[in-house]
Amino acid sequence: MKKKKNIDKLFKERFKNFEANPSPDIWNKIQAKLKEKDDRKVIPLWIKLGGVAALFALIFTIGNSLLNAPLNKIKAPIVNENPAKINSESYNNIIVANNDVIQDEIVSTEDKNEIKTTNEVLIKKPSNTTNNSNGVYSSKITVVSNNKNSRVSKKQAQQHLIQDSKAIIKGQEAVAKGNTNLADKTKDQLINKNSEINKNVEAVAVNENVKDTPENPSSTEKKEVVKEENKKSIFDAINETSEEQVVIAKLDNTPDNRWEVTPNVAPVYYNSLNEGSSIDPSFSDNPKNGELNIAYGIKVSYNLNKRLSMRSGLSNVNLSYSTTGLDLGTGPLAVSTASIEYFSRNNVTIVVDKGALVNQNSDDPFGNITPKSTNGEPLLNQKISYYEMPLELNYTLVNKNFGISVIGGFSTLLLAINEVSVEAGDFNEVLGKASNLSPLSFTTNVGLGLNYSFSKKLMFNIEPMFKYQLNPYTDSSVNFKPYYLGIYSGLSFKF
């Protein structure tokens, strides 16, 4: 029978028990996506480890030459480890005190090791998540419930813990005997940490109170909505899901833009980690000055996830340094410096250590260098230019508008310009090229990336980079360990 019907009602009635089955292969697709996600989680871990390994390799490579003082190596661990132990034990005491408040009579544990471990969990949380008092609160619950399970008297447990603390503090005192400053420092740290814990406990208490209050306004709001629209409200649900969305967004590690192109330019400073000369061993102790030059190029990054990116590119690096404390002379090619490949085949300008020409023996077959008078201090300049192809990993530490990252990796260097020249006052001559430079060499790179995002697509970068050359010379006897420092700046375009 025909009757007038509101269109809303018509649809509502018909869709009331509506249920439909999707095609059977949908589950397979979901399963595949879930697996894909799992796989993705595994790959970045390996890449991260690879990055860390690269950084360690670099640290060990340069470590030998930088960290020659053995005393530092011994001192450092003592300072770091012992306060931690003492602090842990003192936290245990605090926790026992807390338990006193929470439980009236019985505080306990099956054995003291167990309470130690559970308490350690609690200790870590406050120091890591000072703002997240809920985390602390839940941990506290764990400790308390553990205690309830196995009943040993409170005094016993306390005694164990106090004894432990004493024992370890004694041990600590013994270690720190020779160094009273160290002991003082430890005590200070203890006090600081204790007050931090107390703060956290207070914060928990406050938060517990605060936690309850927001529910009331939302429920009154709920009632109002029901009155107004005569429909059930889902505000709470929406709030809940939007909170969840935020969490998911944080978990979702897929970057917004995979690719990034960065034209960059950098002042680069070239120098050696030790004394020595790549041109002539007799110049080893001469003063040398690294010079500022320019590197420019383009980098292409591929973002593996929101934190980790891999990058490569091509750049031109110009490096130079000068050696002073020299005298100039002219003489046959035979007496010239072996590692300079002269352009001229006849009499050439020869560079010698200061004073060497005065002392030369006229009977010496090689002693026929005629001193050259110049009106200024002679400088021996070496200019090198490389084409650099880096392969680096960039791990983002701070991923906000202003970002911070660490960079580690390697570069392949192809020798482009190789020039040795002398200048003294108004005299300036290109002698030739260094014969001992490798046409293909490598560097290990480490650096810090600072960036500022103007938009999702555009970012400004500044990257101080340290690059240590692994095999710059064909002759392994050269005792010159060059590195270069560059402050790379550029604009990144993401797509």
């Binding site: 509502k12 999707p22 589950w27 996506k33």
Partner: protein, 179 residues
């Protein structure tokens, strides 16, 4: 396995539990997707996305309220994210809009398949507003907040959706009466 056990196992990323959960709820959630999507194919895509989200977020379900309700909300949110940004151009603002649309019709004269089809054919925002308000009992205030439109726009979108649906149902009814 009880629902609680199933949820717990899903939280532990147990694939078997996930499959069982899918089997148990895919029918209900697919109906949600069908109502909010423009066609069957996209509804299936949305169902996939919704389940992926559910499995990823299941950790956050704390047992407050019904699990089915929670899954429905996640599904609706997933689908909404896809379609709410698409604009609907109102070309006839001057037109007087009816607050309610009434048609004269026999019970069960129009099959559910047809009703679903014409809902799906609505422009994205009309469809979202109509489904949310009429089929899933959201208020205009809630719709305005979720979809990101004003209450007025929500009401006008609903009225337009009703208008379109009314014409289509009437046409269908007339044609089938003549047969």
């Amino acid at each position: 396995m009880t629902l609680e056990e199933l949820i717990l196992n899903c939280k532990n990323q147990d694939l078997k539990a996930q499959e069982e959960l899918y089997k148990k709820f895919s029918g209900i959630l697919f109906s949600v997707c069908l109502k909010y999507s423009p066609n069957y194919h996209e509804a299936e895509d949305n169902l996939q996305d919704a389940f992926i989200t559910i499995f990823n977020r299941i950790e956050q379900f704390k047992g407050k309220g019904s699990f089915e309700g929670w899954m429905k909300r996640v599904t609706v949110n997933t689908v909404l994210q896809k379609y709410r940004k698409q604009r609907v151009f109102n070309l006839s603002n001057e037109e007087q809009l009816e607050e309610e649309a009434v048609i004269e019709i026999e019970d069960n004269a129009v099959p559910l398949d047809f009703l679903l089809k014409i809902v799906q054919e609505l422009p994205d925002r009309y469809r979202l507003v109509f489904t949310m308000y009429v089929l899933d009992d959201y208020t205009h205030k809630e719709i305005s907040e979720i979809v990101g439109i004003s209450v007025g726009t929500s009401k006008s979108n609903l009225a337009r959706a009703r208008g379109i649906l009314k014409i289509k149902v009437e046409d269908y009814y007339k044609i089938n009466q003549l047969k």
